[in-house]
Structures are given as C-alpha cells and as structure tokens.
C-alpha cells in the first residue's frame, strides 16, 4: 500500500522519461484552445516533429477505414483524418509511450479498445443529448483512464496484483486498486494530467469519472464519460475480464445529474445506443490496431 505523497515524486519522474514524446505538452496546449482557432499548420508541424507519430498518422490515414489509400504527407493525413480526431489519437499514442513494453499489466490493445470505445460512445452520447462539444467528450473519453498507465509504470507490482484480484473476483478495477495500491487511477491520473497541463475539464474527468457526485467542475462532461465508461465495460470493451455487476444506467447518480441540464436524455433509447456500440466494434478494433498495435518500424 502506498500513499499519494509517496508516489508523487515518481509521477514527476515520468516527465523526464525518454519515452515521453516531446510533443505531448505543446499538443495538449493546442487542445485547450477553441477548435476553430487551431491552425492546421501547427498540428502538422507538431506531428512531423516526431517521426514515429508521423508514421502512425500515415498508417491511420491509409487504413481502409478512412477510405484513403495513398496519403503520403503528414499534411494530407491530418486533413484526411480531421484535426480534432487526429490530435486526440496522436495524443493517445504519445501517452501510450509512457509505458515501457515490459510494464504493460494488461493487454495494451484491450486497454486502448476500452479508451477508444469510451471516446466514441462519449461523443455519440454527447451529440444525442445536445452537449455543446462532442469532440471534447471524445478527447476526455480517450484519456479518462490515463491513471491506469501511470499506475502500471510507477507501482507495477501492486498494480499487477490489483488487476489479478479484479480478474478473480469480478470487482471493478478502481475498487481493486483501492484495496491493493491504496489509491486509484483517478488520483494518480489527475496528478499527471495537471503536470501535463491538460485542460481543467479533461482533468476533472480523469479524477472523477468513478465518483461523479464529487466533481465540482465540468460535471456534465464527467457524467457523460462515467456513463460511457460503464456502457463500454458492459459491452466487451472493458478491461479484459468479467465484471460481475448489473448496471442501472438510468438509476445512476450521473444520469440524474445529466438529466437536469439535458432532458433529451430521458427520451433516449438506451438499449439501442448499446447495440450501436456492438455495431461499432469492428471500427474500434481497426483504429486501435492501426494506432497501437506494435509494428516493425515504418520507413520515414
């Protein structure tokens, strides 16, 4: 068991790790701006700066999923994918690199399928209820479990136990972390998010997506991600183990909170939304494979 004070310096060290791409910070700064004001050239410049990530963008853009075959420049890749989406995905793959290969305590593709699934469901849900910034929901969904990566790196042995026990008992991962690490990915994720100057709403999501009632800012966003996270975990986009629980989404506190500002929620066909997730499964797997599947170095 550890205290947060103990892990704090180790999270600080994450910054100086050689594996953390230098573009993380400028990219998050960019993401904090109003999407209309983000300049295409700026994104292209940042992406080109890191050859691995540039190659990744080309891979995504050239995947049949986007219907593009011959995207050769980073610029056309960014255009093909759309600025906001590519930023989010690029950021995801940057963040991915804080975890060295031998530290992955769960299957990396499973983890990113969960995150990307959550991103897609969050933006979908945001659109359905009329939340003003679905792309923000996408980004927050993608990054909500940042703390899991932190935990894998800074307290690998304890986290392995936590995950193992969760597998065995079917309890939620954050409960198991609480028992076996002494803190959860929400707390450790928040520290790194602040250190990396993530926007305050994304940080709120990272900190409170498992306890929405304690969120003091960006509450609707936190609630959207909370519900999407639950939905994904119930639809084979979880953490790779059977979570023995029944979820009454409409009886959830996050639901009540959202309904106040977004009455359209009440009219939503939740079962249909869930079935849509099943329909999006292939797309999710494809994107995750394109972005996160380790592949022999791509020619520059």
């Amino acid at each position: 068991m550890k205290t947060l004070e103990e892990i704090l310096p180790r999270i600080k060290e994450l910054d100086s790790m050689p594996s953390v791409p230098a573009i993380v910070q400028p990219l998050t700064a960019l993401l904090r701006q109003n999407p209309d004001r983000v300049k295409l050239e700026k994104v292209v410049e940042l992406v080109s700066y890191d050859s691995t990530i540039a190659a990744q963008c080309l891979r995504i853009a050239n995947s049949p999923l986007f219907g593009r075959r011959n995207t050769e420049t980073v610029r056309s890749a960014v255009i093909a994918l759309g600025i906001t989406r590519i930023e989010a995905i690029v950021l995801g793959s940057c963040v991915n690199r804080i975890v060295p290969h031998d530290k992955w305590a769960m299957d990396a593709l499973t983890f990113w399928r969960h995150c990307l699934g959550c991103a897609l469901v969050s933006s979908r849900l945001a659109k359905l209820i009329g939340y003003a910034d679905p792309e923000k929901a996408y980004l927050a969904g993608l990054l909500h479990d940042l703390g899991i990566l932190v935990n894998m790196v800074i307290c690998a042995p304890e986290f392995r136990v936590g995950i193992q026990k969760a597998h065995e008992s079917g309890i939620p991962l954050h409960s198991s972390e609480h028992q076996h690490l002494g803190f959860t990915h929400c707390q450790s994720g928040k520290i790194l998010a602040e250190q990396w100057h993530f926007s305050s709403d994304v940080t709120a999501v990272i900190e409170h997506h498992h306890d929405v009632i304690n969120a003091t800012s960006a509450c609707p966003l936190v609630a959207i991600i909370h519900l999407s996270d639950l939905l994904c975990r119930m639809r084979d986009l979880g953490y790779g183990y059977y979570e023995a629980m029944g979820v009454d989404l409409a009886g959830d506190a996050a639901w009540a909170l959202l309904v106040e500002s977004y009455p359209a929620l009440v009219k939503m066909d939740l079962a249909r939304l869930t079935m849509d997730i099943d329909g999006a499964m292939e797309e999710i797997t494809n994107v995750v494979n394109a972005v996160f599947k380790p592949e022999p170095a791509v020619a520059r």
Binding site: G170, L230, L231, R233, M234, R235, D236, G238, Y242, E243, A244, M245, G246, V247, D248, L249, A250, G251, D252, A253, A254, W255, A256, L257, L258, V259, V266, D269, L270, A271, R272, T274, M275
Partner: protein, 302 residues
C-alpha cells in the same frame, strides 16, 4: 419465424398478393396473436397461408378467409394457420452472456433477497419457448448450479408457446446437431440419451423440471394467471408484435414477475417506449429488465 419461409409451399402469385383478403387475414392473425405483418411483409403471410389453403382446398384468399371467420371450425383452422406462421428459429445455449449474467449477478441477487424472506424456491418461465431449446438450456443451467449457487433450492420452469406443433416437439425433446451445435459435450453426455444416429433425446432429469403448455401471450385470460415468476425469458418473440400488443404483454409480464424479478428479451430487442416501469439493466454482453422491489428508490429515473 424467419426460417422456413422459403420452404413453405408454393409462392403465391404476385397479383394474388394484392387481394384485399390477405389484409383481412392479417388482421385476424393480429387480433388473436399480436403478430402484425406490415403491408410490405404480406408476402410472408401469403406464403404461410398457401399451405393451409391447399389443405382445405380453398382456391382464393377470400375463400380461405371464410374458413377463418365464418365456418364452423374456424377456431381450429386459425390455430392451424398460426402453427404455420409461428415457426421459430432457436437453438440451445443461444445466449451465453445471458446465462453468465444469471450466474454471476442476477441469481445471487435474487437468491439473497428471497432467502431473506425465507423462500427457497425459484420459478422460471420461458414464454415463447418454440421447440424447447430455451427451457432445456435453462434446466441444464440450473442443474449445473445445483451444488453451488442453488444448493438447498428447488426450481421449476414453465415453458409455453402458441404453436401446438412446437409444444409437442418440445415435450418430446429430440434434437439434432443444429439445435445442439452450441451444447458442450459434457452436458450432452450428462443430460441426453441417444435417440437415433443423428439425434439425442433429453433425459428425465431435465424433463421433470419443465411444464410445457400452450399459452398465447396475447390472451389476457390466460396471462393473468401466470403469477409469481422470478425470471421470465421472452426472447425473440415480440419482434413481430406491434407496439400496442407488446405493451399489453409487458403489462402482464410486469404483473407476473415478483418484485426483484427479471425479464430477459432477445439480444437485439429493446423495451424503449414499450414499458418504462422496468429498469433496463446492463450486464456484460446482455440486458435484463428489472422489476424493482417495493420501496426501491432508483437514482435518476424520473
């Protein structure tokens, strides 16, 4: 109900389809069973009628309509027609995620609540059981849990369908590879006996748990008396019902379930706007509809 259509007798002529008598037959079927064939699906109905028409030697749809509405044995004929219409696709262990949810979440919850009240008996209902695959699956599932979750408990399954032929086949319990394709070998050996080269027959242990009956879900007088259920399975049955007949069935199901009980539908079915008293519960890979116990205060549900 999707299968077997192609097999069903001669295709009616396309001009025949425009015969307004088909609309009337459709309405009769709907009145009785709740099954509604929209105009564009009328050809399905027509192909199902074709067989009965040749059996009674009716040469036109309107002549056949008479058999269903004014002739002396019209009720019997209607039943025979319904037997043609309601041929259901089904197999054992069709919804593994549903069974996992039962094992890991639903049953533990129900057992705990019931034993707190001193009850040790469970009642399950497979409503629209077709040829019996679903109730036998449930019976195997329960027996497999007998030493574990269900130790000290007794249980029974009511299995009903509208189709007489299906109920007869269900009682016989003889299955080929198609029905058994997802049934693990251990269970085949444990609960079945050889029938012929290509078929197995369910053994007494399974049969003794199930009571088969013909019940029309659209028949209020029968539905009212099927109370006291812990779990109702009505999978892939209501897909051909229209909204108002679905609503009616749901009202019955709600009343038939004990507080704290669950209704399970097919994996692609939604109760959206059908009945909002049920709570939609998500389990890994499956849904259930929950009738909350008295006094349950759900968070956000308005």
């Amino acid at each position: 109900m999707e299968t077997g259509i192609a097999k069903a007798a001669a295709q009616p002529q396309s001009q025949d389809l425009k015969d307004p008598a088909y609309l009337k037959i459709r309405d009769v079927v709907y009145q009785i069973s709740g099954i509604y064939q929209p105009e564009e699906k009328l050809y399905l109905l027509a192909s199902r009628c074709a067989r009965r028409m040749s059996a009674v030697k009716a040469s036109t749809p309107s002549e056949y309509l008479d058999y269903l509405t004014v002739r002396g044995n019209r009720e019997a004929e209607l039943r025979l027609l319904l037997n043609e219409i309601t041929i259901g696709e089904t197999y054992m262990f069709r919804s593994p995620a549903q069974l996992e949810a039962l094992r890991n979440v639903v049953l533990p919850q129900i057992l705990q609540a019931k034993s707190a009240l001193g009850f040790k008996r469970l009642h399950l209902w497979s409503a629209g059981c077709s040829t019996g695959e679903e109730p036998y699956t449930l019976a195997m599932f329960l027996l497999e849990e007998k030493e574990r979750l269900l130790s000290g408990w007794t249980f029974d399954i009511l299995a009903t369908d509208l189709n007489d032929n299906s109920v007869v086949a269900a009682k016989a319990g003889i299955y080929g590879e198609y029905a058994l394709r997802s049934t693990p070998d251990v269970l085949r050996r444990k609960y079945f006996k050889a029938h012929d080269a290509n078929h197995l027959q369910v053994g007494e242990e399974l049969k003794s748990l199930i009571r088969f009956d013909r019940v029309n879900l659209n028949d209020d007088s029968k539905m009212t008396f099927l109370k006291g259920m812990d779990l109702i399975f009505c999978c892939n049955v209501l897909i051909y019902f229209d909204l108002s007949s679905k609503r009616k069935v749901m009202q019955h199901f709600y009343a038939n379930l004990l507080p704290g009980g669950y209704l399970f539908l097919g994996h692609a079915e939604s109760l959206y706007q059908v009945d909002d008293r049920f709570h939609l519960m998500h389990f890994p890979g499956a849904f259930g509809y929950w009738k909350p116990p008295l006094g349950y205060i759900g968070g956000g549900k308005k």
